[in-house]
Symmetry: C2
Subunit: 176 residues, 2 copies
Amino acid sequence: MTREVILYIATSLDGFIATEDDNLQWLDETEGEGDAGYLDMLNTIDTIIMGKRTYDYVMAHVDEFPYSDKKCYVFTTSEKGSNEHVEFVNENVVEFTNTLKQQEGAKIWMVGGAGILDDFMKENLIDEYIITVSPHILGSGIPLFKENNPKIDLYLESTTRYGQFVQMHYKVKTKN
Amino acid sequence: MTREVILYIATSLDGFIATEDDNLQWLDETEGEGDAGYLDMLNTIDTIIMGKRTYDYVMAHVDEFPYSDKKCYVFTTSEKGSNEHVEFVNENVVEFTNTLKQQEGAKIWMVGGAGILDDFMKENLIDEYIITVSPHILGSGIPLFKENNPKIDLYLESTTRYGQFVQMHYKVKTKN
């Protein structure tokens, strides 16, 4: 039994996680309800993985680092070492994550963004998908799923409506 | 007040309506519940629009034409006239549909496939989206939404779980 990796992310109905210019205004403007299960998810994890662009985005949009009680890994080729919040990782993301999954601990949240997520998809590293669909067709943008992923059969654990959002919680059933 | 056009269609979690080779086995194998609102939807419409490839697919997979009590238009450049079930239409799909929407009648179901749907998307001709998500990541296939659609804001009317399917019913809020 290894630790599970969760993808908890919001997407437009047409499968974009952001506009081309990293705009998330469409998400912010959507009428939600409560925290869309965010704290529940946070309570199941103790480790966070994200890409450098996502880390930079978070840092530019918050006053306080939001994940200070979690072990945070930021994948990058441009930075080394660590700061008070995160550890920068220059290793192969697949190997690093597989090692992480063998260690003791709670679940792991793969925050994104699109580049690192694609590495995870191609290697089938995600064990749970918590996808929150917003009521928009964006038309273009950064896709949640890039092309030529492996076929993955899922099991729908639950679905919950949060205002104008629909959330679907899947576990991976088979890895083909 | 014009007649509304409905898109009622099933898609994989990663937004494909069929595999590259038009295979729908992944859908057939999914554990559903009842008819996923199909008859309810059928009762709101009196007219059906589809592309020729979809028509051919339907005819190859059924013993009896399933929409004989509806007015059926099949868009094609290869066939003319009509048969006992459908009328073949060689006109511009957008102009034809806009004329249809001005006429008296119930709602119109746009069945697909991908080609004609793209025409509808680009011209923002869909008024209601009833999207049923199956628990699969197909990895590749025929996408529900092609690239460079207009941005469309939706209003979530309802969401219903049917076994392993999650259905979302949207109405178009604004057409930008």
